[in-house]
Amino acid sequence: MSPADDGHTPDQRGILLDGILFLVGLILMLQLWLLTGTMEAFLGGDLEIAWPAALASLACQALNLGLWRILGALDPR
């Protein structure tokens, strides 16, 4: 699907891209928060949180990759 025939006007596509960008940024901040929190807990001797946090970060990354794919579909090179 090319940008010209995806049924979106440039304005609509811009709004979609802004939305995706916002979500990706939000998830990235969540991942950073997870990492700093896990590091803090690990250095404080709390070892139980490390793997659940790693899995949560992986889920966030999967979400981000999905959003990135949508972005690629909206605007292929």
Binding site: L17, G25, L28, M39, F42, G45, Q61, L65, W68
Partner: protein, 194 residues
Amino acid sequence: MQDHPAEFPPDNASQAPAVLPRIRFPDGRSEADQPGWRHAFPIDWARDQVVSRRDFTRLMVLTGLAFTVAQFGVGLASLRAGRARPEPKALARVEEIPVGETMRLHYPGPRDPILLTHLSTGAFVAYGQLCTHLQCPVVPRAELGRLECPCHNGWFDLAEGRPMAGPPRRPLTRIQLEIRDGVIHATGVEERTA
């Protein structure tokens, strides 16, 4: 200089809509009103911004991937840390440390400095010497009842090892002690959160 279409008339003005479809010009004027040079160097500003945002999003996704890899690194480190159990070790005899004095030793490894202090209450306490802020060695100030980190002026309570002032947020690593037959033994290491 004022842009005016009359100065540089487009060579193919009649074919312009077919050549430059869906371009919105920054000055908001129609394509027919654009100067000629814009037809020679057409830039779709909306599309240009899309490319910038797409590349920025890719950068963020890759940064997130680095965070995820780091998370799994912490997970692996926690597995290793969970398995490691330091061996008990005799540190010093009770009479070697007068009340209010501090002895610098190493536990559990030779690169892990600790401070063993005889408190005025008669109890012995031992803490890892590395500040929980940026790993500078802390200095005992028994007369003030605290340990001080000279790097960033962090203070820790001598009796509990908890942060009192400055940038440190976590307590010092506490060494578990046991006194048997007049000898102080270290039996474990206790990392603590706030």
